[in-house]
């Protein structure tokens, strides 16, 4: 018996004992179930808060390393107690409300954003059988709940009665609503290939046995994975898409006026959302908790840590994009490429069928799953290359036009100056 098995058993026994205790107090039935579920939900929320503390520390340390700094190193050894110090600071800060603020809206906004951020975790599978509820529309639910945070940010921006807040809120809507489109379009290939919207089924399809073939979707549809990650970063408003709180332009965007615990809730919402995007990427494209030897939750932790490190890496290295660049990157590059990609995957999925029985019934060429995956991979790479080529050509043309324009103006000015001198 390994250490992990011992931990598994202890957790299972503790859970069963707790459920038994509640049932013996309240009697079997709806109420006892309700209380047990409530406690489970509270545990997940508490875990999210703990993860939030860990993530802030990790991010500060890693971004500091990238930027050739040391990062927090005063509170505790290597500064590990920094999140607790931050928490104490947040708690003791004065909780201000602007005099002209829309009080109710202003005070509710942080709560709403935290609630929507935490709702996502209801459907995320942490290990086989360890999932809040295995909804058959899990992916759809995650995207629906993710769209709710837009309302919260609008509430914060409007309620603060501050022009910078409102500008931040306006930018948010343009960005979050816009980037939802490529995000949805790139979840679609995963749903089509796995034939289910349930997150558990999607993971099963990427593991060996149980109707899966053991190929994670990142190796089947790498382009979709890439665009999903990019639009996921934009959805959470992290750098390089942090236009909603661009410090150098609009102070802090929608949360300028917030202080103390209300600000902490916004901070929590941001990190919990970023973590949710990492977990969703892991589940959709990297096989979630699936993996050999190590227990499932360790695999999930490792994969999520890898994805989140990429997010931190991007934050530490890339400059912020401009508003017009953000929009044209989305609507002129990501969305068209996603649509082409989805249509190609549809056609390939119907022509080269991995399941021989389906091929017999619906027509199409029956191929082994590995061959189908390779064909899809190749088509993805080709679409990506064509897209990049087109964009680079267009960018070159744009540069040339701008250069010519400058030349023309310089020549004009020079001629005019010469005329003045001659006179």
């Amino acid at each position: 018996m390994t250490v992990f098995e011992v931990i598994n058993n202890i957790l299972k026994i503790a859970g069963d004992a707790f459920a038994g205790l509640i049932t013996s107090i309240l009697g079997a039935g709806g109420l006892a179930d309700f209380v047990v579920m409530l406690v489970a939900a509270l545990i997940i929320c508490a875990l999210c808060a703990v993860a939030f503390m860990g993530l802030t520390y990790a991010e500060r340390k890693i971004v500091a390393r990238i930027q050739d700094r040391i990062g927090p190193n005063q509170a505790g050894p290597y500064g590990v107690l920094q999140p607790i110090a931050d928490g104490i600071k947040m708690f003791t800060k004065e909780d201000t409300t602007p005099a002209e603020a829309d009080r109710w809206v202003y005070n509710l906004a942080p709560l709403v954003i935290a609630v929507f951020a935490l709702l996502t975790y209801a459907v995320i599978p942490f290990a086989p059988g360890v999932v809040g509820t295995n909804l058959n529309i899990g992916v759809f639910y995650v995207i629906a709940v993710g769209s709710g945070s837009t309302v919260a940010i609008l509430m914060a921006g409007w309620g603060s009665n501050n022009k910078y807040s409102l500008l931040g809120a306006f930018r948010t809507v343009a960005q979050l609503v816009g980037y939802e489109v490529p995000m949805l379009l790139n979840v679609l290939p995963v749903v089509m290939l796995s034939g289910s919207m349930s997150l558990v089924d999607i993971i099963e399809r990427q593991t060996l046995g149980n109707g899966g073939n053991g190929i994670p979707f990142i190796l089947v549809v790498p382009l979709s994975a890439l665009i999903f990650l990019i639009s996921g970063i934009a959805e959470t408003g992290r750098s390089p898409f942090d236009l909603l709180e661009a410090e150098s332009e609009i102070v802090a965007g929608f949360h300028v006026e917030y202080s103390g615990m209300k600000f902490a809730l916004f901070f929590l919402g941001e990190y919990v959302n970023a973590l949710a995007v990492s977990i969703m990427f892991t589940v959709l494209f990297m096989g979630g908790y699936a993996g050999p030897i190590l227990p499932p939750y360790v695999w999930l932790l490792l994969k999520v840590a890898a994805v989140f490190t990429i997010l931190m890496w991007l934050r530490g290295t890339l400059p912020r994009v401009r508003v017009d660049q953000l929009m044209s990157f989305n609507w002129k590059f990501l969305v068209p490429m996603s649509i082409v990609n989805v249509i190609l995957i549809m056609i390939i999925g119907k022509v080269f069928v991995a399941d021989p029985v389906t091929a017999q019934v619906n027509g199409g060429i029956a191929v082994p799953p590995l061959v189908q995956a390779m064909i899809l991979f190749t088509s993805n790479v080709i679409v990506l290359l064509i897209g990049l080529l087109m964009v680079s050509r267009q960018a070159r043309q744009l540069r040339l036009t701008e250069a010519e324009d400058l030349d023309r103006r310089a020549a004009h000015n020079k001629a005019a100056a010469a005329k003045v001198v001659a006179q």
């Binding site: 829309d102 759809f140 709940v145």
Partner: protein, 229 residues
């Protein structure tokens, strides 16, 4: 009372209360937010009916998109935010509203009218809330709905028509935007011409360079431009 019934009553109160506040609040931004609460309550009804797909669609479409549009429209028209309610057609609106409410009350209420052998209305009153009125969706609800939508025997044609309608709306929106953009381009071109005249330091415009260069021009200037940058 079962838990489901309690939840039904609570959600109903939330939906009705916030819907009432939508039409009575003077602050339009608050009204839009109450509308969001009301939509959320409707999503709760779908969850109670075991129609999770509709609940998620309700949140995604109504809260994620339509309310955002409402809020934006309210924000961009700042003057109306605290304006007095002054609708000259409120009597007609009240009459139509009352008429529709009565119609619904008759159809869903304890009455039933039989006209030429057809029974209109419901004779089973009061509803057994956990039994008759709230019917759980079939277990494979999403699958049934999906195959119903694409099958030509069931809802294939209406589904396609709805798709065509959305496409028409999209093309129309693009067309309208293009029209505006064309006019703006003309205006911008006029402004650029004025700029050029200014650059010549009050000299009359003698040789105006073409504003939009052709592709051949790009190619010929290519090497020079690359050298300069």
């Amino acid at each position: 009372m079962t838990l489901q019934q309690i939840l039904f009553i609570v959600i109903s109160l939330v939906v009705l209360g916030s819907a009432f506040l939508v039409v009575t609040t003077r602050n339009l931004f608050h009204a839009a937010l109450f509308l969001v609460v009301s939509f959320f309550g409707v999503a709760g009804f779908y969850v109670l009916l075991d129609a999770g797909f509709f609940a998620a669609a309700q949140v995604l479409v109504y809260i994620g998109a339509i309310s955002i549009l409402f809020i934006f429209a309210v924000m961009l028209t700042r003057d109306v935010i605290t304006a007095q309610r002054g609708n000259s057609q409120w009597q007609a609106a009240a009459f139509v509203g009352a008429f529709l409410f009565l119609l619904m009350a008759i159809l869903l209420g304890p009455f039933s009218i039989t006209i030429r052998g057809h029974q209109f209305g419901n004779a089973n009153w009061p509803f057994d809330m956990a039994g008759d009125a709230i019917k759980a969706a079939p277990s494979n609800f999403v699958g049934t709905m999906g195959s119903g939508l694409v099958s030509m025997d069931q809802y294939g044609v209406p589904f396609l028509l709805a798709g065509v309608l959305l496409l028409v709306a999209m093309v129309g929106a693009i067309w309208v935007a293009r029209e505006l953009r064309g006019r703006e381009a003309e205006k911008a071109a006029a402004e650029t011409a004025i700029d050029d005249a200014d650059m010549d330091m009050n000299q009359p415009v003698q040789e105006t360079l073409p504003l939009v260069d052709t592709n051949e021009a790009h190619e010929s200037h290519d090497a020079a431009a690359v050298e300069k940058h």
